[in-house]
Symmetry: C2
Amino acid sequence: MDDAVGGERPKIRRNTSATRAATRKANEDAILKAAETVFAEAGFGGATMQLIADMAGLPKANLHYYFATKEELYRKVVERIFKIWLKAANAMDDAAGPAEGIGAYIDAKMEISRKYPNGSKVWASEVMHGAPVIQDYLETTLREWTEGRCAVIRRWIAEGKMAPVDPAHLLYMLWATTQHYADFGHQIETLNGGPLSNADWAAAKTSVKAIILRGIGVPPPN
Amino acid sequence: MDDAVGGERPKIRRNTSATRAATRKANEDAILKAAETVFAEAGFGGATMQLIADMAGLPKANLHYYFATKEELYRKVVERIFKIWLKAANAMDDAAGPAEGIGAYIDAKMEISRKYPNGSKVWASEVMHGAPVIQDYLETTLREWTEGRCAVIRRWIAEGKMAPVDPAHLLYMLWATTQHYADFGHQIETLNGGPLSNADWAAAKTSVKAIILRGIGVPPPN
DNA sequence: TCTTTTTCTGACCGTATGGTCAGGTTCAGG
DNA sequence: CCTGAACCTGACCATACGGTCAGAAAAAGA
């Protein structure tokens, strides 16, 4: 009977038998995931803590328990993306030549665009607005990585393994083309008349690799 | 004497001997220009009418005289960009073949990225957030334009003037690569150690054209 | 069981923002 | 010179937002 009274709230137990640490991690992950979505869809300025809280299924005040400020939460989201992004960079390492190395890098970045489109959008938004949060990453980690890859490409060119192209502009083209499928995914879907199928994604990968590899004088492995 | 009193304001005459229409146009242009900059730098949500007003040198209330709401102002900014963007599309028309047509299109789009980086950023931001304002453009004008160009490319392929590549993905690559120099200009400048010089821009154009034209099986005119 | 620490949250606050409006100013047309 | 329309703006308002906090609730430790 007393259960039937309207005012009684169910008192949902969010984490029944988990340790402190596990609960914390679960909540932080839920918040970060929700934040990534909201930041991607609305931008930093358009995102609200309330919306993120609702999407994560937590009261707003709880967000501020885990992340002191909106900026801190945003920073964590961006850093998370940057790490994923850097991992893909390894695809280019230890490759015998451009066909293998650049081909694998394109594949890896296309996969990321497909799997983490929101992350890519947040990154794009951050850079477009002058990288107020990750400027130091650009100047240190990214710069070093870029210079290292440019050196590799230059070596490949010197060894006659590919056509002599400007390494930096080649990298920009790789980034632009692969990330376009995430950042401009909405436009592509509109023109495509719906979400990309598995076959569509495969065709995209093949097309990108075909043009770029041929473009740098390397026969596409097909 | 009375002039010397501190309280006297200079009463700057903003438009001395202009017609009503000219004044209106000048003010609207100033507002649109300021708005483009602010929207590009801060996104829609992060932009404030006060900031736009300050940058345009007008009181905030005056903005609302010319543009009823923030949304309306934003819409005008986006539409303006879309028109510029479409104009460049003509560079691809009436070309004898892909070398000429696509080469000219790349040149035109690179010029736009250099000249209107803010416009490109606003466009990118709009699309990334699901195109809430220009969805209809995507579905009508852009779609028609895209299908027209795809047909042209297919014809070129059928005529043996270029390698058989997926036309849509080629277009995406063209958009991505050229717009990257505007949207990710900050990242490029950071890696470059400063703004791109004339020579840098020329190198960028040359690199992009070289890779893509060779990539579609067309000898670069260079 | 009692105490301490961590976790959680409703209610609240100051500020900044988009937008309004009454009243003033300027201008074109007569 | 007069008048009505167009133009301009300081002051104001309601709202929504990021952030705070006191204190409840739960878990861990003793």
